[in-house]
């Protein structure tokens, strides 16, 4: 290996500062280890929107010449390490520039590494991560996703843990000493953070993933048209109007088949059709027009179109009629209304279980109460992970706080 190429896949805005710190940290750590490097973001991913998957890159090489081979690109064609700082991205990513759902490990080279922060079990993650036609390694830092925002930065040591882990994955480019020295000199560095990096180095869990393992879903793909096959005048066909759901009743709009957006989601709405008063508010207010009108006048959130913003939960006037639940507890994008129609009792059981899971129904974006940082940090440092116990959900907050 003469060069190591890393991508950081993150959620736009929420993890923008985190990703920028990681790629800068990689290059500065490599420099302390006598290597050269560059850090950059995928230009097309800016300006970023809430939750949209985006990428930053860091490339480190033995020589400046080797580095130049990898420069002046929007994104590398392959990477040695795919760093994922939100495990709900394990299902694949879809930003406006990536053409449909792309496996999270798509750019990872054979025998490369997917490095993820997660408190999930490996087997659970592998139900989401797509199969790959070459073996690779899955390395886990036991921590939950670190979310904050554009203006605040959550000092939960995620960035130094990633750097410590990389020292284990690519020791010839980032030595642990180099990482520690770089952290010490960085404007945000501290001795405590150096300790965190060392712990991440020591505790990193790595396991080989075989070509037989993973989600068998075939990702979306298409041929890029030749210039003379493309429509002229920078025009594309519009999305046609929709149809009634069935028997002339209800309404299902046509949606863009090339851009489904659901990987943007870190939470999804779960709907109680029995208590819905058919007020239309969710249908009208959803910024992504996700709701399909059902023949009975209730509204089903289309899970291929929903980006998980939570507006529907906020506007629904009925208590616990719409509840946002963490994406990691779902297996697929199946219709909730169809499940309810088929077996109302079974749906009630399923729904109660989903919305009753406090870990999955509170949000973890940013800081939600004074002292949360100190509480979480202590717990993270002690155990390498922390229970998700608090957060601010939507309008129904008081009913959901643990």
């Amino acid at each position: 290996m003469a060069a190591v190429i890393c991508e950081v896949v993150y959620r736009g805005i929420f993890q923008k500062n985190l990703a920028a710190r990681i790629v800068r940290g990689i290059v500065l750590s490599a420099r302390k280890s006598g290597r050269w490097g560059i850090a950059f973001g995928r230009y097309g991913d800016s300006p970023q929107r809430n939750g949209i998957p985006a990428k930053d890159f860091a490339i480190v090489a033995d020589t400046k010449e080797e580095l130049e081979q990898n420069m002046a690109r929007y994104e590398p064609k392959h990477v040695d390490v795919t760093i994922v700082v939100d495990d709900t991205l394990a299902k694949g990513v879809e930003s406006w520039a990536w053409y449909g759902l792309q496996p999270i490990n798509r750019l990872t080279v054979p025998n490369g590494t997917v490095l993820m922060t997660s408190v999930q079990r490996v087997d659970d993650l592998l139900r989401d991560i797509h199969k790959k036609d070459a073996p690779y390694k899955l390395s886990l830092i036991r921590a939950k996703a670190s979310f904050s925002g554009l203006w605040v930065y959550k000092e939960d040591h995620t960035e130094v843990r990633i750097l410590g882990a990389l020292a284990k994955i690519a020791p010839s480019f980032l030595t642990l000493d180099g990482v520690c020295e770089a952290i010490r000199e960085m404007e945000w560095g501290s001795d405590l953070k150096i300790e965190s990096a060392k712990k991440a180095y020591a505790r990193l869990e790595t396991r080989e993933v075989k070509i037989t393992e993973g989600n068998a879903e075939v990702p979306y793909s298409f041929e890029m048209p030749k210039w003379w096959e493309m429509r002229e005048g920078v025009t594309i066909p519009a999305i046609p109007v929709g149809k009634p759901k069935e028997d002339g009743k209800g309404y299902v709009p046509e949606r863009n088949p090339y851009f489904k957006k659901y990987t943007t989601r870190s939470m999804r709405p779960v709907i109680n059709f029995d208590t819905c008063v058919k007020c239309t508010l969710c249908w009208i207010q959803c910024p992504d027009s996700c709701f399909d009108v059902m023949p009975d006048g209730t509204y089903d959130a289309n899970m291929e179109a929903c980006c998980g913003c939570g507006v529907c939960e906020a506007v629904c006037p009925v208590e616990q009629c719409i509840t946002m639940v963490n994406e990691s507890v779902f297996e697929d994008n199946a219709s909730q209304w169809e499940m309810w129609r088929k077996d109302k009792g079974a749906y009630q059981t399923w729904m109660t279980q989903k919305i009753g899971d406090k870990k999955a129904t509170v949000r973890s974006h940013g800081f939600r109460f004074r002292g949360q940082y100190e509480e979480e940090l202590k717990s993270d440092l002690d155990s390498g992970g922390v229970e998700i116990t608090a957060g601010i959900p939507g309008e129904n907050a008081q009913h959901k706080t643990a």
Binding site: W227, E232, V234, I239
Partner: protein
């Protein structure tokens, strides 16, 4: 000897009117049954908007006349009107044209066949009204069709031809007709105005086809694209510009067939070039003093000719090279500048140098800048340029500089 300005006998059904270049454009717009026109005043283009307003007020033309709050909106409005199938017209001058720049650059990739009149005017500063060609020339690289006219008759004829070319499905590009401020926009000459039936035989309806923005043809126009798409879109634009060569030739041939007048060579006018030792080249009304000077010089035995370039985009490379490479020396007179360009030459001189690069015979070429800001181009200026060209013909060498004529020094 090719003389393009010989008197055309009035065809029986044409009316002869004493009108300015701007009024001639307005006559053509009535004949072309224009749908939407936008206006924002700036001299000298404003004469066109006044002439069109008068036509509409008099009931000769039924069209939407929209006064915008600035040039940017002016061009945006017609851009949108064109995508829903309207035949559109607009125009500007000098820094007004510059103010519309964002819209000017998006029309070629969107394949919007708007026709615009640029009343050429010096760019500020200093604020001035006189002619320079730099305003229209700023769009030379981005996919606009560009031509220069020098008489009221040519203004009328070229406006009709402009719609025929721009609105051809093979082309669908915006087209700017450049007219020298004051000399053409404000001076009246006798002009033949054809009857509508003839125009209908020449100019088909604008059919936007599959690119029409209409509820029955739902499309999205101008979505964002990343690096996977842009070069293909540029390639399409390039192809449309290349196809314009054929479409322009066809349009002029058809124009001659229907109207019984118009040049055989659409691209440039050749004045006394058949036996010319020295050929001068220029665009627009600069041709008038040059022609007078040529007649004077010929009386004294100097074989001088003029090529007046009509079409600048697409650039008539092959025909121009064929016409110019037979001379002993060339003198290119630019009414524009391109500071810091090769040899400090104007835009036309540099284009012609480039065009001649592959020619088997490359005559020595001298580059002149003259008449900026509306400064009169005198016979003395032309004599001086010609004498220098004879010097170059004798030495067989181009000089690596550009000569400014008519500057106080």
């Amino acid at each position: 000897m090719a003389v393009a300005t010989k008197a055309t006998p009035a065809a029986t059904d044409d009316k002869e009117l004493l009108i300015s270049g701007s009024e001639a454009v307005a006559e053509a717009l009535v004949l072309a049954d224009l749908d939407v026109v936008t206006a924002y005043p700036i001299r000298p283009y404003d004469t066109v908007m006044q002439a069109i307003a008068k036509k509409i007020a008099n009931g000769e033309l039924v069209a939407e006349y929209i006064v915008a709050e600035g040039e940017h909106s002016q061009f945006e409005i017609v851009k949108h009107a064109s995508t829903v199938g309207a035949r559109v017209f607009c125009g500007s001058s000098g820094v007004g044209w510059m103010y519309a720049m964002e819209c000017l650059v998006v029309t070629p990739p969107l394949r919007v066949p708007m026709v615009a009149l640029v009343g050429n005017r010096a760019l500020d500063d200093p604020g001035a009204f006189g002619v320079e060609h730099n305003d229209a020339l700023v769009v030379r690289d981005v996919g606009w069709l560009l031509c220069w006219i020098d008489t009221s008759q040519e203004a009328l004829d070229t406006t009709l031809i402009a719609y025929r070319v721009a609105e051809d499905r093979r082309v669908f590009l915006p087209l700017a007709i450049s007219a020298d401020g004051a000399f053409l926009t404000h001076s009246q000459a006798l002009t033949m105005v054809p009857p509508k039936e003839k125009v209908d035989r020449f100019l088909p309806r604008y059919d936007r086809g599959d690119l029409l923005l209409h509820p029955d043809n739902p499309i999205t126009v101008a979505p964002q694209a990343n690096e996977d798409w842009v070069i293909e879109i540029r390639r399409q634009n390039n192809e449309a510009m290349k196809r314009a060569y054929t479409v322009i030739e066809e349009a002029y041939a058809d124009f001659r067939r229907v109207f019984g007048r118009g040049p055989e060579n659409p691209w440039f006018e050749e004045y006394m070039t058949d036996d010319a030792e020295i050929i001068l080249v220029g665009m627009g009304t600069i041709s008038l003093p040059i022609k007078v000077a040529i007649r004077e010089m010929r009386a004294k035995g100097k074989k001088v000719g003029l090529v007046r370039l009509r079409w600048f985009r697409p650039f008539p490379t092959d025909r121009l090279v064929a016409a110019l490479s037979k001379a002993r020396a060339l003198g290119i007179i630019d009414r524009d500048y391109s500071f810091g360009s090769p040899f400090g030459s104007g835009v036309v001189a540099n284009e012609i140098r480039a065009a001649l690069y592959n020619a088997e015979r490359r005559p020595p070429l001298l580059s002149f800048i003259c008449g900026l800001g509306g400064r009169e181009v005198t016979l003395e200026d032309v004599y001086k340029a010609t004498d220098m060209c004879y010097g170059a013909a004798k030495s067989g060498k181009s000089d690596a500089t550009t000569h400014w004529l008519g500057v106080r020094e």
